[in-house]
Symmetry: C2
Subunit: 419 residues, 2 copies
């Protein structure tokens, strides 16, 4: 494989996570090791910034800042939800790449952004433009294929299960067999996050919460829930419920649609399932259930980052650069779990064409037969992902996060209109 000399471009896409910046830090740090990588650019706001030629010089950032990214939530380069579709967009993309001699492109994102990365890779090959494209996974939803798990998932379930442990102490103090508390968590189409709350339950501690988990994978039936809650309240001082926002009924329709929502295409957006459950319980059991809805705080809770997740996200960034240096292109970094009982994780590669549109479902045989808890197979899978904590620095009582100074790279082309 001939050495390819030129500049590198890194961009981020989709919903932020606690560790997407750790991946960025890993990629930048690794890129500095190779002389054939001349400049290290960051593209602002994913492909939108690339089309607009909005690059920042990542090598100009201080080492402190790059290190600080390892505990900074959000996405330091900004993200977008724009997908390259038009022929014109792709042509512009390559004009920009040529103008800046981009020879290495790393795109950190979920499935649909890996589709873009795959198309760019294919077009480069077709057009004889020497480019190495490596995708890097991220999503709290944990639904990408070909990877054992996704960077971002471990931290969100560490946050959710920590929160369950905390509110359990509160509920324990006030419940007298009459208290129901409901925590609504993210997951429009799968129960990966809600399932993760089960980690709060210690092994062989059947009384620990969460007592009931309602997942999008199990058709929701109100009368069954009422029975479930009554059963728990006969046994415990309180009933702590975790519910995914994407809960569906037996016909596959969302049981609750986020107030005032709709995605603009007539598709409902799920949400408000906590309040929905509360209404049913209050009306049928004469309770006053309490609800909390963590919303977007879930994916930003840097103070609950899993060290395992953060380290693997960093590793994935490094692995992407190494793969490209080794001549790989059109691939996404994957996380592969070792076979032994002792958890270990190394990186692999999968073709972008195969990861783009796949969706990894929560295995239904990891759901306990009661339909409201997870079995040991899930525990074995998820428990290693939340191990270890990340020390976030505090100043004056609050966490301090890194901010890129974003030294702009001079534009070389005419302006382009992104629609």
């Amino acid at each position: 494989m001939a050495e390819l000399t030129g500049n590198c471009l890194i961009a981020q896409s989709g919903g932020p996570t606690c560790v997407i910046n750790s991946t960025l830090a890993g990629a930048v740090t690794e890129a500095l090791n190779y002389e054939c990588i001349e400049e290290i650019y960051g593209g602002l706001n994913g492909v939108v910034g690339i089309l607009n030629e909005e690059f920042v010089d990542l090598a100009a950032e201080s080492q402190q800042t790059i290190r600080g990214l390892r505990h900074t939530p959000g996405a330091a380069l900004g993200t977008c939800r724009y997908k390259l579709k038009k022929q014109q967009d792709y042509e512009r993309f390559f004009d920009v790449f040529r103008a800046h001699n981009i020879r290495y492109f790393f795109y950190i994102g979920a499935g649909e952004c890996q589709e873009t990365a795959g198309n760019v890779s294919k077009l480069a090959e077709e057009n004889g433009y020497d480019l190495r494209v490596i995708g890097i996974p991220k999503t709290i939803d944990n639904d990408m294929v070909h990877t054992d798990h996704c960077p971002g998932y471990g931290s969100v379930i560490k946050h959710v299960s920590t929160t369950v442990r905390e509110i359990a102490c509160d509920n324990e103090a006030t419940g007298q067999g009459d208290l129901v508390s409901i925590l609504e968590v993210m997951g429009q189409s799968s129960g990966w996050i809600a399932a993760g709350a089960s980690l709060a339950k210690g092994r062989d501690r059947p009384h620990d919460p969460p007592h009931l988990i309602y997942l999008p994978e199990v058709a929701f039936a109100p009368e069954k829930m009422i029975e479930d809650v009554q059963r728990v309240l006969r046994r415990e001082k309180y009933c702590l419920i975790v519910v995914g926002e994407g809960l569906v009924d037996k016909d596959g329709n969302y049981v609750s649609v986020a107030p005032g929502a709709g995605d603009g295409f007539g598709h409902p957006v799920a949400g408000g399932t906590g309040e929905y459950l509360k209404r049913i319980l209050d009306e049928n059991l004469g309770l006053k259930a309490r609800t909390a809805r963590l919303g977007y705080t879930q994916r930003a809770a840097a103070t609950h980052t899993s060290r395992t997740d953060g380290d693997e996200a960093y590793l994935a960034g490094q692995a992407a650069v190494r793969a490209a240096i080794n001549g790989e292109t059109g691939k996404m970094v994957t996380l592969l779990r070792g076979d032994s009982d002792q958890y270990s994780c190394e990186t692999g590669l999968a073709p972008l064409s195969e990861v783009a549109n796949g969706v990894k479902a929560l295995p239904v045989d990891w759901i306990h037969e009661d339909g409201v808890s997870m079995n040991h197979q899930f525990y074995k899978y998820a428990h290693p992902l939340i191990q270890g904590e990340v020390a976030v620095p505090y100043d004056s009582g609050l966490p301090v996060f890194a901010h890129l100074k974003k030294e702009k790279v001079k534009k070389r082309l005419e302006a382009y209109s992104v629609e």
Copy 2:
């Protein structure tokens, strides 16, 4: 002052906080210093447990457990919302005290539970029963009088302002001048907690969020909010709003009542203000604002405990015991702030009769004249209260909290029926 020999009883009441157990630990630890205090009992579930003679032996708990209380949320002894009213209740109360030779009674709670403590103290004196009663304040609502601030408040505003810092990173990554995110926080009747979110804004950093804070102290006007948001979005990539659950309109009515709520007496319970604001903004500005509602997770977030708050809560527990030993009774421990610019705090005492029904309002002259932010006077007041972090021990990826083994004290009376 003659030395009073006998047993001591500690109980907790009302809504838990992150540091009410720290107060319990302070009281137990201090009580161990005095030989005139023979047994150290905990009453389960506040006055309800006392009426039912449900005591546990706190001196039998391990030192590890008592130390662990300093980072354990909830209320380890359990709480109640029951108020002693009937003559019969008070008679029973003293029967129980006599049967167990209770000579020191420490009640940790907010205003209405201090009323009970005050009544007990007065009746003891009237009946010639030698008893020392000291109340210890706690409430995230920070609305108790005669004390500069309340144990529990510093931690809840550290949590809320940390959360604002975290979601700011997320919003910054995705906002393009079109993103509104709304965080609903507690506070049925005052904006103390919502105001605390302003600490997330660094000094001399006008662009930092929260950009808008809607407080129950300022009559809410939808058209003003729409203008506020438009003004922020002209200037910033996103608009982060913090709203108190107790928001009221110009007539003093809650703008939003918690779904299905009502306190059983026909009084509405506030809540859902985040969704209420969202609906107005979505409809009028064509946005899709995001909301999160931290709910009861706010008062349980031990992982965000303020060390200052935790230490002061502990100190208050110690001070209560010392005051009783020194012959004080019918008083509540208060926190007094030093006069110098360097923050300092010591404890004082105030008559229970004066603290029981007072409510300390958020000073309106601490609200910036724009009505949606706090001025430097608030900052000066609140900033010291969130300083320092508490190291919560983790095991296997999750925080570990202390649980009392609750060795029961043998009952000596016939059963009593608490209604």
